[in-house]
Amino acid sequence: MTDPVISLNDVRLSLDGNAGRVDILRGITLDVARGETLGLVGPSGSGKSSLLMLMGGLERATGGRVSVLGHDLTAMGEDALARFRRHHMGVVFQSFHLIATMTALENVATPLELAGVGDAFQRAEAELAAMGLADRAGHYPAQLSGGEQQRVALARAAVSHPDILLADEPTGNLDGTTGQSIMDLLFGLRDRYGSTLVLVTHAPDLAARCDRVVHLVDGALAAADARDAAE
């Protein structure tokens, strides 16, 4: 495997919970290649979301090394991480996480604006239209259905043509048909921009559409995957 986009080396994450220190991730070593679509599966509480957050620099590892596009995320400050994300990453969550005080269009334009892109709104409009939401641009999140909200979130994640798309159960809150169409849009985005995609999911059929699937069990990679990663 040449030139991994994401490279995790013995990554550990422990957090202080109410009942003392909890080891959430216990030494994960994993590479994701450019253009690859990686599925992350595992039982609830196994640490999938945590791993994804670490890849996005939204969580700080307590041990090991997280390196993305050749940058060592563990060594970067919070603002540097934010700037890094605005150019290279798009994140989609199970519960959308749109900004309630912004319209759909503003939500989508925000990453571009933060990056100082001049035609942020035109590009945002185009991206929304590509998601079939041209006529919903002026709506606030609360005025949109769940599927529509997730499509806005997809547009927001993709609008800056990121190298990496991170998606945490993006269809988890949606019904089957809507989920299906969201998934089609997500894979479409990946194809259009040639992004690397890491997808957390419980659904076997979605996992099946991935290039590779790793299983997480109790904060560690399942034996078979660990062997693969070590190759």
Partner: protein
Amino acid sequence: MSLKNAARIARRELRGGLGGFRIFLACLALGVAAIAAVGSVRQSIETGLEREGAVILGGDAEIELTYRFASERERAWMDNAASAVSEVVDFRSMAVVGQERGLTQVKGVDAAYPLYGTVQLDPAMPLSDALAGRDGLAGAVMDGVLVDRLLIEPGDRLRIGAQEFVLMARLIREPDAAGGGFGLGPRTIVATDALAGSGLLEPGTLYETEYRLRFGDGIDLGAMEAAAGAALPAAGMRWRDRRNGAPGVSEFVERLGAFLVLVGLAGLAVGGIGVSAAVRAYLDEKTAVIATLKTLGAETRTIFLAYAIQIAVLTGLGIAIGLVLGALVPLALAPLIKAQLPLPAVFAIHPGPLAEAALYGALAAAIFTLWPLARAEQVRPAALFRDGALAQFRWPRWPYLVITALLLVVLVGSAALLSGLERLTLWSAAGLFAAFLVLLVMAFATRKLAARAARARLLRGRSTLRMALGSVGGPGSEAGSVVLSLGLGLTVLAAVGQIDSNLRSAIARDLPDIAPSYFVVDIQNDQLAEFLTRARDDAQVSRVETAPMLRGVITQINGQPARAVAGDHWVLQGDRGITYSASPPSGARVTDGTWWPPDYSGAPQVSFAAEEAQEMGLKLGDDITINVLGRDITATITSFRDVDFSTAGIGFVLSMNPGALQGAPHTHIATIYADQAAEARLLRDLGAAFPNITLIGVRDAIERVAGMLAGIAAAVTYGALATLLTGLIVLIGAAAAGERARTYEAAILKTLGATRGTILLNFALRAAMFGLAAGLVAVAAGGVAGWAVTHFVMDSSFEFEPVSAIAIVTGGVATTLLAGLGFAWRPLAARPAQVLRASE
């Protein structure tokens, strides 16, 4: 049945603790506490005045005479009626020590003084010992202020009029000080006997005698007043008794107290906004609970009651905290207040003002919570499945609106009734209500404008500003509560600032350079010519005016009692200065009728001040009867003339033909216009040449008045600051309430690539916009209130004062900024993963 269910639900909900109601309780408690404290202090003073009525008055009753002592017959009646009589004579004079001299209010007393209370001296000694003097010289005791000004110490000599005294002690406390109202100079007490050779108590000089009477227990003061009226000649006699020992002072205290309670009510209104916001936030949080309860079959009424009970319990708690604070703080500060106060005060827990504060608190809480409570009814079970952030504005059902309006009427009505300042209360309430509406409109306009500006193409790319505008204009904006609470607090402060500065500049402006340096009284007939020559020959004196002066009381108009004809006009209150003149005084303009010929010697004629005559409904040809030194003079009004009382020059309401008054003993007054630099020398020169005359420095007198006004302004400013403090609590409450939303927002923005600096700037911009909106409305509304007070109450011209206005806008922006940024720390520090996971 629904009540029982409601109570059960309420109890379960309240079990969760009161953590979310800190702002609610703080706002209500602070408002109630401020009102209760002001009311308690006022009641303490009033109780003190009442209980100490005899001490303040100096006796159970007092008979006051003007420019004369009681006749033998009168004194005999008093000695017979009362168990003890004390004679006091009171007048203005100059105390002189070598080259130094100072205006003083002299009190001549007899051996019986004081009938009640004690005089406190430093060094401590009985008053009788002090007044006995030493080395054959009569003694005097004097207010420390004057002692210091004259650079003397006990043991030194001083002169009053032509009489020499030895200063025996400083006067620390004069028991009957408050009864006489506000004198023009610091007090000196001497024995009346020692004044015999001073030349100060000549016929025609201005002095008052007060006969303090002590009665046995169970005396009927009303009957005694009637008996005195029947036995003594009515004219020039004034009866006062301990039922109201210091009418001027107690009225002043009552007014100021009532006014401060009104300021406190403004604070309660500001607190009400916080209360309302807290209830709204609480119920928003409970949307899911309410929807669930409805799904489970709870009726609308039950739900309303359940939350109304919770709010009522909390209101009771808030009021109780406020009452405890409002009752205890004045008690704790009692020694401090007592030391500052020249009045007796009885500090205790006074139930009256506490009940008043509780009433206001309960009414305000009801007014401000009914509306948000009514929304609880409107929650539909479907809310469980939809995001509540965009809940549409809906009017509550009409009964709620009617009840809110009624409660408002009751609140304003009871405030008007209890304060005794009906007009002021109604106007203040109207003003506050108007400011409230303007602020509501402003909050709405800010949102709309911000929303529109955020859409503007111009701003595309300026992400931080656009985001800030977007959230100010978007759903869930804090504009309403922040702009309202801060705006209302700042409005009160701005109004006080404008009124205060206009009051000050009115004093400075209306006292133009044309005001005289000195007002001179008690110039005897035989001194007048020499006085005028000396004064006019002085190179630094630009002008000297003089007029003869007597004092008299207008008793009848056209044969009818004057008050029955002209009502309670100020000209009829007490005695008035009267002058006589052969020709119209220079500068006076006769507006109607004709002045008597220079050599007129017929029946008495009078020229009346035109404006006052019109107010009293007098016409040419009316007869007025004036009692001058016990003699009734009836004169016909033959002319009206303009008199300007505003320049501190000589101005008389009444001027008569010389023949009518010349025979009565009288003195002359004069005004001296001179360079300010020459004033001190003039005081020495003229004072030395004419020991009996009194020179009153106009500048000093004005400073005394200005000083008193400054004290009132300070009290009112403290009241306004309490209002602002409540506004701050509401503001902090709003900032704290918004913290969770901002934390979430910051996490998303970070995910999208925003740096902490960008997010902080975004929060700061929002806060600044709220502060600016609130500050601008405050300055405008405060300006209007200032104008209204200046124009309608003070009858003076209004000038907008920009310094305090700018300070208030800046203060508003800075405050919101601080509150906003104070609560930005946690949102900025939080790690996005934690925040986003928590709201999955």
